[in-house]
Symmetry: C2
């Protein structure tokens, strides 16, 4: 019978925990893992080998690379969502996929400002002018949206004078309307 007091976890348990530990702390060295799991460094290395987990430096490189790409993606992103159709000063359509980070952890429903962001940036994009800012917006969230759903936003210019453009944006998930917004956009310079 095995010693109950100092009994080690069986291999597959350790490996599962190892994987998790490294996942939410990629900065940990084999040495630290060895002491924390109370096995030798070599054991940790064998485990990593079997699990296909790269060494600390490679992990850091990966995280850093990700960061680099993401930062670029975020700052380049003048429009939230992917624009799939655009007729300047007429109509525009964009698609945004709702992911885990967009929803409230408590109820799994997308935070309103993400739908707003998609609609607002589409309203900016549709306008054929270098200087555009949102002046007013009147929005309605008619149905909750959940993770993994794809939101299709359709924008239409409904009115225009020398300083203001009115854009109506309606967003759908599977033909069901989830969001409606009227945006009054200011064009040309200064406030």
């Amino acid at each position: 019978m095995r010693c109950l007091l100092f009994m080690r976890k069986p291999k597959h348990v350790r490996k599962a925990e190892l994987k998790e530990t490294i996942q939410n702390n990629p900065f940990i060295t084999d040495e630290a893992l060895a002491t924390s799991f109370n096995v030798s460094i070599q054991t940790i290395r064998l485990d990593r080998l079997e699990l296909g987990i790269p060494e600390l430096r490679e992990r850091l490189k990966d995280v850093a690379r990700q960061h680099h790409d993401e930062v670029k993606a975020l700052t380049d992103e003048e429009v939230i969502g992917e624009v799939i159709d655009l007729q300047l000063d007429e109509t525009a359509i964009s698609i945004m996929e709702i992911r885990e980070e967009h929803v409230f952890t408590r109820n799994g429903i997308a935070r309103g400002h993400h739908l707003f962001a998609q609609a607002n940036s589409l309203a900016v994009a549709i306008i054929n002018d270098d200087f555009v800012v949102t002046g007013r917006a009147n929005v309605r969230f008619s149905k909750p949206v959940r993770a993994t759903e794809r939101v299709v936003a359709k924008a239409k210019v409904t009115a225009q004078d020398d300083k203001w453009t009115t854009v109506i944006v309606e967003s759908y998930v599977d033909q069901r309307r989830v969001f409606t917004g009227e945006f009054n956009m200011a064009r040309g310079h200064q406030d």
Copy 2:
């Protein structure tokens, strides 16, 4: 007189370029830098020393750490901005600093949805209920906000019945109002 053809750049020029090169490509090794600047590895190391630039691995660690923190901040962030005062179902105040990534690169003005996000999430936070989603919102962006400015959002509950709560949010930069919004928030379950 110095050789005009294979003349090297003077030290201070190389150092300036080195700094820039490393900044927008932290993944480069001293060796690669040495060949690209056509000097020895040791020279690069001396330069880094003088410029206080850490070695490749430390740079990667820094970038990875940043990333890690940011991701945590984003996913933990149930409220956009920092809540500095909160009386449930009464008033709340949050502060958000506008950074480069919040503004349009073309005109340096903050994208509307960031101000909306701050106000909207404050409207959610102020309500003393587990289930809250935004139903309607009527917002106005009265003055453009620019990078480095700190936006103070003040929320106030103005009406409440068994299903709906109305929250008025007004945001200021240095006492100047930049945003006003009326949010109709739905409480309790289901749509």
